[in-house]
Amino acid sequence: MTATVLFAFYAVVAIAGALGLVSANKLLHGVVSLLATLVAMGGLYLLLDMEFLAAMQLFVYGGAITILVLFALMLSGQRAEADDRAPMRLRWLPAVVSVGFFAAMALAVSQAPWQISPTHIHDTESIATILFSRYVLPFEIAGLSLTIALIGAVVIARQDDMAGVEDVDSQQVAQPAEEEEVPA
């Protein structure tokens, strides 16, 4: 009974946050609304007896990725009042596609014969056991790809600072007011 009430609460919060993201005029409000969804999904993981995933959800999504997106929003300097969504006359096709996708998924889910397992055991230890035995190579590759991606992110984001002198000069001639002077 308690689980049902909690699931309903978290589900409503998650859906409301997602709808707030797609309906917000300002992207900043949308990101804050998405934060509610991410935290609610942490609660859903707790309901599934997955404490480790709930903690990771709060740390990685609720903390790191939200802050990263807010920083990018601030640094990219988008105009606060501008509505960055498609005009209303172009929104019907995405809406049809999304609703159709949900209908297809709901139909498939309701008809699929899942083999529900009777036991309901989850512990963090089993994650570690399988992660460091059977999936140790994907684990290493995941760490390597994360390192490469973040190094690449730094390189891409700093590309203008590291570009050749003539390249920067030609850009500054083309758009004089674009580059702000950063003291090295």
């Binding site: 699931f7 797609v22 599934l48 959800q57 990725i65 399988i130």
Partner: protein
Amino acid sequence: MIGLNHYLFLAAALFSIGLYGALTSKSALRVVICVELILNAVNLNLAAFSAYVAPTQAVGMNFVIFLMVVAAAEVGLALAIIISLNRRNDIEAIDSIRRLKG
């Protein structure tokens, strides 16, 4: 009693909302955020399957962890590209970005 199908319906709804948001967006940043929402819906699917179908193996939970790694790498790279594009020529709309090379 909450079963597997409830989680799957919820994840499908979140996925659809994220899909709608990504399709109706003009700014690259909003697309990235909506893709994050979609990845979260997939995570919920995997976790629900792990809990209800194969709870003794914890494979689905490992997939969720790998997907979180991929999502973190993806959002870091995407935000770097967006910042770089913005700094270069103040592009806001994704349909006006025609070249990514150099």
